[in-house]
Structures are given as C-alpha cells and as structure tokens.
Amino acid sequence: MRTLLIAPLLFCCLLVQAQKQTVAQTIAVFPFQHVADAAPALQTMQQWKPAQWKDFFVMLDTDSLKLQPSYALHAYVNAASLNADLRKKTALNLSAGLTQVKGFYAKDFLIQRLGLLGDDAGIKALESFLQDNEYAGVAARSLVGIHSDAATAALKKALATAASPIKEQLQAALNHAAANAVAPLPAANTYEKSSLAQLQQAMAATSDLPNKRNILNAASRINDAASYQYISQFLADPDLRGDAANALARLALGNNNIRGAKVSSSLEKAFPFLNGVDSAILSRKLVEADLVKPAGNIALGVITSAEKQAGFKVLFDGTNTNQWTGNTAGYLVEDGALVVHPEIKGGNLYTKDEFGNFVYRFEFLLTPGANNGIGIRAPLEGDAAYVGMEIQVLDNEADKYKALEKYQYHGSVYGVIPAKRGYLKSPGQWNTEEISIKGSAIKVTVNGVVILEGDIAEASKNGTIDHKEHPGLLRPIGHIGFLGHGDVVKFRNMRIKPL
C-alpha cells in the first residue's frame, strides 16, 4: 500500500524538479552576448505556464539566484512591450508575481517592469501598492509610465483617500503626467510614406491640431520646392506657423534649389516664428547663408531673448523711422540700416521719446574720415554737444584727426570725458556700441571693450576739460539723437533699456 503512494509522490517530485530545472535552463542564456542568441529562450518563456512563472519568481526573489532572472525578465519585457497581446499577457504574469514575491528587490523590480511594459493590465497590481509607504512612490511612477487614461484615473482615485507622506508622492506623479502628456501609442507613423498630394488631402480632411502638426511634419521631410510652397501657406495659421517656420528654414537650408524672391520673402515672414531648441542655430544659419537679410530684429546684435527678458525695446528695427523725428529726409533706411545722407540738408534725427537713465545698444559703420555723434539727454534744438551731451562718433585713425584733443575721439563725452582709442574696426565694418548712463555715471563700450567709464559730475565740477559751457550735463532727461557732421555713417539694431 505504501509503495503505491510513494511512486506517484516520487514521480511528482521528479516532475517538479524537472520543471525547476527547465526554467533555470531556459534562462541560462542570459545575459546574452548577441541579441539573436536569446530568441529561443524568449520564445520558450512565452509558452510558460503559471507554474513556471512561479518558479521563476522564486528565483528572482532569492538573493543568490536573482541575477539571471533579472537579465531574463529585462529582455523579456523589452520584447513583450512591442506586441499588444504579449504585452497584456506579460503584465498579468508580472502582476501575479507581485502577489508572490516578498523581498524589496523583487517587488521593486517587478513594479518598475510594469511601468516599462506600459499596459493597462498592470494597473490593478500597481494600485495595490499605492497605500504602502515603501512602494507607493515607485508604483505611482510606473502608473505614469503606462501613459493611459486608466492609469491616470487610478492615481486620482488613490489620491482622494491618501494621507501624507503618500499623498504628496501621488500628487507629484500626477503633476508629472499632466506636464508630460504623451499621446497614446500611435498607429504606425501614418504619413511617413505619403506623397505631397496625399498629405494635402489628409490636411483638408482633418481639424485635429496634433494630426495637422503630424501632417506638416511629414511634408517637411519631402525635400523639394513643391512641399516648400505648400508649407509656406501655413505661416498665416497661428496654430501651425511655428512648425511651418521651422520646416521652411530647414528645407531652404537643405536644398539649394529652393531659392528665389518668393522663398526669400516667405523666409523673412517665417523668421520671427522660428522656435524650439534649434531656433538660435536656424536663425544664424539663415543669415549666414544670405537667405535672410540682417534687419533689426535678427540674430547678430539683435534683441536676444536675454535682452527681451531684461526689458530692452527696439528703437530701430531696420524697416522704418517711426520712432524718430527731425531730419527723417536725410536719414534713410537702406538694407536694414539707417544711413546718413549728408547731401540732404536737414539737421539731426532724434527719438520721439525722451530717456533719462538707460542702456542703449546699437551698431555703427564708419566711412573713412567720418564724423557723427550720438546726442543723449538732448533737447530737439541746439547743438547737442553742449545743450545735451554728445558721445562722439569718429573714424579715429583718419589722417586728418591725428592731432585732435583726447576728448574729441570716438566714444568720448565730447569735451568732457575722453575715451580710450584703438578699439574700432576699420571703416566699412560694423562695430557694436553700448552707452549706459545712470545719474551722472556713464559707461561706453565698443566692440565689447569698455572705452569710457566715468562720472559727469566729477569730470565737470571744476569746469570741463575743453573749457566750454556744457549746460546739457545737468539735464536729467532728453532725446537721443544722431548728430551728423557731413559724412556718411550707418547705424542699425538700435535697442534701449530704460533704467
């Protein structure tokens, strides 16, 4: 009688033993040296019954045995995530494992895998940890990793009854999900192989903005003039013009055949809407490739985002002198620059606004021997050098200027404070300048070098060095002006920050 019982018992033990060995044998290939080596094992794991998964999880839960199961499950989850059916089945297997394992390593590992797997079938198991102090955080983050409405709903439900410290962790996870909403797993990139004609049809047939953006994105990968033309119409659409601008820039930069007056004008229109991580590089490339003219609001010497943030505003944007008054006939806008035409008599050009304390930045280009000046805190009439202040503009190196007084050279507060010489580029090249004045403290910077820093009150307290009257030194506020003295000088990219 006893032998009758022992035999089947022995048989069952042997069978169980065989199953354990099979699991260990299957996962012996991990870690694989070549991913193809693992294919048979992954196939076998797909066929595992609950009993085999159970054995597997025992190994994962045992410190001395957990290395290979960790590798195996890592590879298995990676493969399963690509197949909808297998993904669901695996999520259920891992969920079962979570009810079985006891140690921190295995629980933490399985919770993380469910997040990577990304299937709703794992939500129930993850939910069960949302009240556990040790695992609520990692479970919440895995729920976020599933990127589905059901997962978000599960988090919200748990949040409603949660207490600190778990409440804050759930809220943080929900915040992350909200800030990084990801579209549900899209169908195969629907438009990748579409022709321009097909894309045009698709665009006409949809009103869903993300879909429209996908269509535009696909069109931007068609590298020809036809798609360029198609995309340029979307510059007029406030929702799509950002994407359109970036796409037009890339197309034009990548294809020398996309050129011409229409292209240039659409790129000029697109320019202000360049956006995203590459906008600075795209802007610069467009200017360097001569696809866009450097007008007042473009790349080099522009209102940068830093300047915008700091409160600078444009005084001259390269297209008009609307903010200026006085000799608008003799200061003409050409190629984005303000050009002095000395042959047209008419006096000085002044800002309509008045400025007291400010940082004023601009660029200027001298012709050989040129003489001009920036009036500051000036009235609209009179000689700004004396009734206001003049910051000299001068071709320092011209022969006729070699014996001037030190306070007559470029950048000097004319007659009052001399500036350093030697920092101007040769005539015909653009220089940068910044005039910064606050109270009686004034600083002039040319091509990045501070050539003057001083105090007007100090410099004039015992009379000015030119021994002339400078009532303008006492004016707290006034216009900024261009004080022509009969030479061609060009200015551009003027922006000012009132202090």
């Binding site: 990692v138 991580v277 590089i281 940068t304 700091a310 660029e363």
Partner: protein, 459 residues
C-alpha cells in the same frame, strides 16, 4: 610693452604681451560673432572677411586666452562662482581662470571640507544646492554633480538668474535636456557645457584642433555623405572600465554622506559604495558607462563639423552584450544614421586598423590627420576659417553673447548619447524623429525619454 588697464567697478581688464598690440586688439574683435556686411549678399565678400579675421586671429594665438584671467583684477571685482558637487571633477573646477569661488556645495561633508580647504578663506559651504543658488554674490553656478542631478540644478539656477557652467553629459535624459533649453530661453541665462573640443585643444588622436577637420568637411573634398568612426584605431578610447557591478550587496551608508540627497531624483536602491563617487558612471540611474562619460567629448565636435547642430540622427543600431537593468556594460558597436545618410559609428572593438576617422565618397581622413587627399594641409590653408565663436565664457557672461557650446547645440549632441543609452538598454534598433524628438513606433523607448522623478524632486 606691458599695458595693464584696470577699471573700478567693472570686471574688464586687458593684458598685452609685448609681441603684438594691434593684433591682440584685432583678436578682441575677431572673437565676437561675425558682423554681417549688409552691403553684400555675395558669399565671396563674407569669406574674405572671415579670412581676414582668421588671419588676424591666427597672428595672436601666441597670447594664450587663459592668461587674460590672471591676477590683475582686484578680488572684489572678479566674476564669482559657486560649485555644486565638489568630488573629483568639482574640485577640478576650482582653479578655472578668471573667476573666484565664493561657495561650494556637496552632500558628502568630507568632500565639502576638502573643497573649502582647497579654496581657503571665507567661502560658504552648503548641503542644499538651492541655498547656494540663492546667494546674490554668486555670478556663475558650476554643476559638477553626477548627471542625474544636472537637469534640476540647471533649471533651478536659471530661475535664480544665474549663468551656468555644467559638466557633461548635459543631462541624463532627453526630456530633462529639453526642459533645460526652455528654461535658459525663458530666463535669458548664459550656459556652457564642460566640453570644448569643438573650439579648442588637440582633438585626441587627430593631433590637431577640430578646425582643420571642419574646414575639410565644409570644403566638400571628401564628398557627402560622410561616415565618422570613433574607436581606438581612429584615435578615441572608450572607457569601458566604467561598468557597473551587478551583485551589489547592501552596505551601511557612511556618516559623512547624505545618500538620500545624493540619489535625489533617482530611484531608491540600497547603498553600496560603488554607486557613488566616481563609479556612479557605471549605473543607468545616474549616467551611462563609457558612452555617457566620454560620449559628449567625442560626439559634440562631430555634430559641429558635420554642420548638424540643429538636428539628430534618425536611426540608432546597437551591437552589444546584454545590458543589466541597473549596471552599464560595454558595447561592440553603436551606429547612428542621419536622414541624409551621414553616419557616426562608435566602435568599441576596433578590429580593423585601417578604419578611417572620416570616410566619404571622394576621400578619407585618418587618425593623426593623415588623408588620402594629396597636399591636404596646403589646400586647407587657402580656405576661409569657420565662423568665429565666443570661446571665453567670461565674454558670454559679461556681454551676453551665447557661448560656442551652449544649451542648444549641447542638447543636440547630448541627445545622441541619450539615444544610444536607450537603444543599449532595450537591445534593439530605434528610429527617431529629430523634429518631434520622439522615437517612432516604440512606446517603451519613448517612456524612457522623460521618466517621472522620485519625490520630492521634479523639473
């Protein structure tokens, strides 16, 4: 003649060696971004300008740039810095020229004491980086922590209005990188990475700076598209000793280390000394092995000389041993392909001694700047130099001009590293959309772009 100029209240000064005053002054002009001559739309005149600027600049290479920071500014006028993370790399930031350390921060109190002693004087020490960032007397924040903290600290520093000098790799994930770029744009800070080969220094086994490589590529002499191979044969060493350990036993946290704060946003894993202080490079939670450590040094100049600073590869393929989910391993080959057919191959095996560094349909460039093109050096000398860039971060800080390697191009080259890390961990080929910056048809890969952070840390 020595000419020392020094202004109260400003940080600007100049030191002229007695070789060539005007050349130095011209160099000042040449180091700024180019001024477009609006009179000419022809590339010829721009090239002439660049050539002139380059010729002038070349004449003053004898004035070392780092000299411009030394010794003649009174300490009270110097630009200041605070360093977060003063382990090995962080303490290396202390002597960077032209700035004065006023504060250091670390979660290891021994490192903090060591750093404070190195700097000397009355510097402030902190445990919490947010306190350092809030100091009004700090101009530049140096971030020298492991990569998993870079995103949070860069964004915190940006919000506080500080300029930022960040260790490479820029961020541990693509998602954090995007957020850093957004924050810098919003708050208008100057940002630089701590890699520099695109604009200076001997580029490893090439034995030249990157400049002649850039000129060669732009000249078209090699043709297009190009394949660039980064391996021991072509002059670059993949530091595969940065592998993690797979069977870490739990150890007691040493008294001087705040391990919870060290982990920060990274998932909780029981302490083992191999996770921290140098060997953190071997773990996916904090970095990315040899790829993460050296990748940006090697790959950033490639994006630069291929002219691809505004894009990313569209495909990444990996050939490697299986990566452990926690510990980084090694790789045999990682291949990136761009939409126009250019490739970057990271070759960890270096089997073929004849591999070219750059190979194109019309020519090859090898280790040591040897080439299949005859008289290459003479031909390159006739070509204009690349667009000058701002290569002194203090210039960026003072005059608000974007640095040569900033948040935009740094993000793009770091994205290549991070794409590679994801492909390695998943063990499969991935396709990437460089405009949307997402993987195509791979939800698991996409969920690794911006994973949620451990409470209470968030971007």
């Amino acid at each position: 003649m020595w000419l020392i100029v020094f202004y109260h209240g400003t940080c600007f000064f100049a030191i002229l060696y007695y070789y060539n005053c005007t050349a130095f002054l011209a160099n000042q002009n040449a180091t700024f971004t180019i001024m477009q001559d609006s009179n000419s739309n022809k590339s010829n005149s721009r090239r002439k300008f660049l050539r002139n600027a380059a010729a002038i600049a070349a004449g003053i290479s004898i004035v070392p740039r780092h000299v411009l920071g030394r010794g003649f500014i009174p300490p009270s006028d110097q630009i200041t810095k605070g360093i977060i993370g003063v382990g090995g790399m962080g303490r290396g930031h202390i002597p960077y020229a032209g700035t004065r350390v006023v504060a250091v921060c670390d979660v290891d109190s021994k490192h903090l004491v060591q750093a404070a002693q190195m700097v000397g004087g009355n510097i402030k020490t902190f445990h919490d980086h947010r306190e350092l960032i809030a100091l009004p007397e700090v101009d530049i924040v140096h971030i020298a922590t492991p990569p998993h903290w870079h995103g949070i600290m860069a964004i915190d520093a940006a919000k506080a209005g500080k300029d930022i000098w960040c260790e490479k790799p820029m961020t541990r994930t693509i998602g954090e990188g995007k957020r850093v770029v957004e924050a810098i744009r919003q708050y208008g800070n100057m940002f630089r990475l701590n890699t520099w080969f695109r604009f200076e220094d001997n580029f490893y086994g090439m034995n030249t700076t990157v400049k002649p490589i850039k000129k060669l590529v732009e000249s078209g002499m090699l043709g297009w598209p190009l394949t660039v191979t980064v391996s021991k044969t072509t002059g670059f060493d993949w530091k595969f000793y940065w592998v993690g350990k797979t069977q870490l036993e739990t150890q007691a946290v040493p008294a001087e280390l705040d391990y919870d704060r060290w982990l920060g946003p990274a998932p909780y894993k029981p302490y083992n000394a191999h996770r921290v202080h140098g060997t953190f490079r071997g773990y996916w939670d904090y970095d990315g092995g040899g790829l993460g450590d050296m990748g940006q040094h090697y790959i950033d100049p490639i994006q630069y000389f291929l002219g691809k600073d505004d894009t990313s590869p569209v495909k990444v393929e990996v050939d490697a041993e299986q990566q452990h989910p926690d510990a980084c391993g090694t790789f045999r080959k990682i291949t990136y392909t761009y939409a126009d057919g250019c490739k970057i191959i990271l070759d960890g095996e270096a089997k073929d001694p004849n591999t070219a560094y750059i190979e194109g349909p019309n020519g090859k460039l090898f280790n040591g700047f040897k080439s299949t093109i005859p008289n290459l050096k003479e031909k390159l000398a006739l070509l204009p130099d690349p667009t000058p860039q701002v290569t002194d971060f203090l210039e960026s800080v003072k005059y608000r001009k974007p640095f040569a390697l900033n948040e935009s191009n740094g993000f793009r080259s770091c994205t290549i590293i991070n794409m590679g890390k994801i492909a390695l961990q998943l063990g499969r080929t991935l396709e990437f959309d460089p405009v949307k910056q997402e993987f195509i048809n791979d939800a698991e890969a996409n969920s690794m772009i911006n994973p949620a952070m451990r409470y209470p840390w968030t971007l």
